[in-house]
Symmetry: C2
Subunit: 417 residues, 2 copies
């Protein structure tokens, strides 16, 4: 293992041990100090960001990507504000999750405690550096951050500010460490720091997630891949179906909780599909339909859907459409192509809603509401570190609680077995 | 991937989908039928087991291992009884873990649901086949089991009985599948069935756990490695320290919640150590001490402890002993050598108990009680599938709840974002 990572790991574990017993008050003071340090160092951060964006522009980065990389005084203020919002959230550490007295008099308290050291691997956006650091810190964890190479100067300046803020508040600055090396080798090494990093959260595209799953020996929480569906049942309210489908697809197509495929029951399709298609078209969405969809719509702009379309997360103003013979067929389609993120049924039938919510295996299953609500803020968590699409530990939006584990504290007076 | 595993994976996912909506009543009927099938096929199972034990004995298996492998009518009755005990436990599926109404009227229900397909890799004991199958089934999961090659005939006969029991109760028999191939290649393939197996639980020694962590792409719950400590504080009741230390070490040295090292505060060591050492000696325990321990005990039978001793899970009547200058030194020793399983402080000081329980990072931290209580039954879970020594998803004894995940079910009336 490289000396760099070994040292960072040792530092992180030491910081985590001291953070574990920090009070909420001490952590909040540190967060306020981190927010202030970002504002104080605005000039340095912007200068570093300018270098990053100039290098990226010269290297031919797309305008959309450049926009995600760019910082401004407003964006830095937004990052500081985000940290202050985390400070305002309740501290999950110390919560007694469960407990009671055993027949032999042992008192068992299942208590929420920090995970320890959390690793985050992410891509271009520099604001993840401060968001992730703030959430990890509030939950009592030390963070080892590994951002993309395009943002390395910005991330370094941000991390330095955050560490200065921590130090000023009397908290071990190694609670937040950014890996300065952006090589793939270091990322692979990081994924194998079993026993040093307690959990690794990759935030990025499907390629990054796959690489982490393939290589990691550290426990991983997979996030963010979303091939989501809206199923319009035969008992749907058509106006509601239009509104939910358009919102789920077109309100923000680039995010993981956006819908990619519309499934529609054959009994309602002849009446509902033309209205929904009109709504989608007005929102700028192109359709790719199955044969029956194209027969019903008879619109040459509706391209035929290929097998690939059912499995594609477009991240774009494109939607696949399939007419299904039954609710069960919709459930089967979702089981075959869904990624277990967010799935929606539009129906007025109680039985259909019950069956859909029971049979569909996903982090969030909606009855008569847009898939776009799968989000830490919308779920009342205040902030999120990502959306888990796996089943271990956390499923769906991950807030502060999901950045903790538990410890059984057992009080006795001499009990033996 | 081998055709065998591919087919078993497909079968398991189909069985899991149908099991997910089985009621507790249906699952309990199936469990009763599985228990009865084991009893009905006692002769076949014993004959298969005889072949296993004869082969193993001819291959030079130790007596202790042969005893673990051997079945008898009583042991088969015990397995059937174990299945009936699982049937008597409350069904975790459907429990609403959390929930409420959002300002926009969305009703969010965080609901407990099965994990899906659970993989279990285990070693010699054939009773794991029925224990694991029963727990997985009660939690609504399909199980793919991979036992050791020494027990393959016994495991096959047991699995056939369980599957016949399932079929008789009208449950998909592929809810329980045993991999007939005991090669290492198949085990490695099984660990990489990402997207097919939802979680993999290795039950066995440190070597097996390491191999799984190293190779798996499927999420893993690590279990069972326990280098546990008893720390006798300066404020300890000496009689209690003797009783707890002897119990923690000697009541069953082969299990993971047995203590391996005694740490003792220097202020109490001169008075307490001779009494504790006498108790351990009477229980047949050999000691390996630090220099101060040997000075205090001045007993030639106490061998010097080497660096390795602090890190060793003896699984035997051997205990390492170290005199420490402070509670903090004990905490540091545990942080350096502990495996995060079970740790105990014996003290009458409230402040010491508070500091120890806060600072020690382990699944279970005891004040004045034996480490031997870390067990699903003792914790009131009824049964356990293993003891997690990692921090994701489950920590400590894993019962039925730990074999589930959650799903957010969200009810709206047309909400969009």
């Amino acid at each position: 293992m490289s000396e760099l990572l070994e040292q960072m790991g040792t530092n992180a574990r030491a910081a985590a041990r001291s953070l574990a017993s920090a009070t909420a008050g001490e952590k909040n003071t540190a967060l306020e100090s981190m927010a202030q340090a970002l504002l104080d160092r605005e000039g340095t951060i912007l200068a570093a960001n300018r270098e990053d964006t100039e290098t990226a522009a010269a290297g031919g980065m797309t305008k959309a990507m450049l926009d995600r990389l760019s910082l401004s005084p407003e964006r830095i203020a937004g990052m500081a504000d985000g940290i202050r919002q985390v400070a305002a959230l309740a501290d999950p550490v110390g919560e007694i999750v469960d407990g009671g007295c055993r027949p032999n008099g042992l008192r068992i308290q299942k208590t929420r405690v920090p995970l320890g050291v959390v690793g985050i691997i992410y891509e271009a956006r520099p604001n993840v550096t401060s968001d992730a650091a703030a959430l990890c810190l509030k939950a009592g964890n030390a963070a080892i951050l590994r951002g993309g190479k395009e943002a390395i100067r910005s991330n370094t300046a941000i991390a330095e500010a955050l560490r200065a803020g921590l130090a000023a508040a009397g908290i071990h600055p190694d609670a937040v460490q950014l890996i300065p090396d952006t090589s793939r080798e270091i990322a692979n090494e990081m994924m194998r720091l079993h026993g040093v990093i307690d959990v690794l959260i990759p935030r990025g595209g499907a390629g990054l997630i796959r690489a982490v799953v393939e290589n990691a020996t550290v426990p991983v929480i997979e996030t963010g891949v979303g091939n989501c569906h809206v199923y319009v049942d035969r008992a749907a309210d058509i106006a509601m179906a239009v509104s939910i489908t358009v919102n789920a697809k077109a309100s923000r197509p680039s995010v993981c909780n956006a819908a990619e495929t519309l499934l529609i029951h054959e009994e309602i399709a002849p009446r509902a599909l033309p209205v929904i298609a009109r709504g989608l078209k007005e929102a700028g969405v192109q359709l790719r339909g199955c044969k029956r969809t194209r027969d019903i719509l008879s619109d040459p702009a509706v391209l035929p859907a290929a097998e690939d379309d059912w499995a594609t997360e477009y991240h774009d103003y494109i939607m696949a459409v399939k007419v299904v013979p039954s609710l069960e067929a919709a459930v089967e389609h979702i089981a075959a192509y869904g990624t277990g993120h967010s799935e929606c049924i539009v129906t007025d039938s109680h039985a259909a809603a019950e069956r859909f919510t029971a049979a569909v295996d996903a982090a969030a299953v909606y009855v008569n509401a847009s898939t776009r609500f799968t989000d830490g803020g919308e779920f009342g968590m205040g902030a999120e570190i990502g959306i888990s699409t796996q089943k271990l530990h956390a499923r769906g939006p991950m807030g502060l609680r999901e950045l903790t584990t538990v410890k059984y504290i057992v009080y006795g007076n001499g009990q033996i077995r």
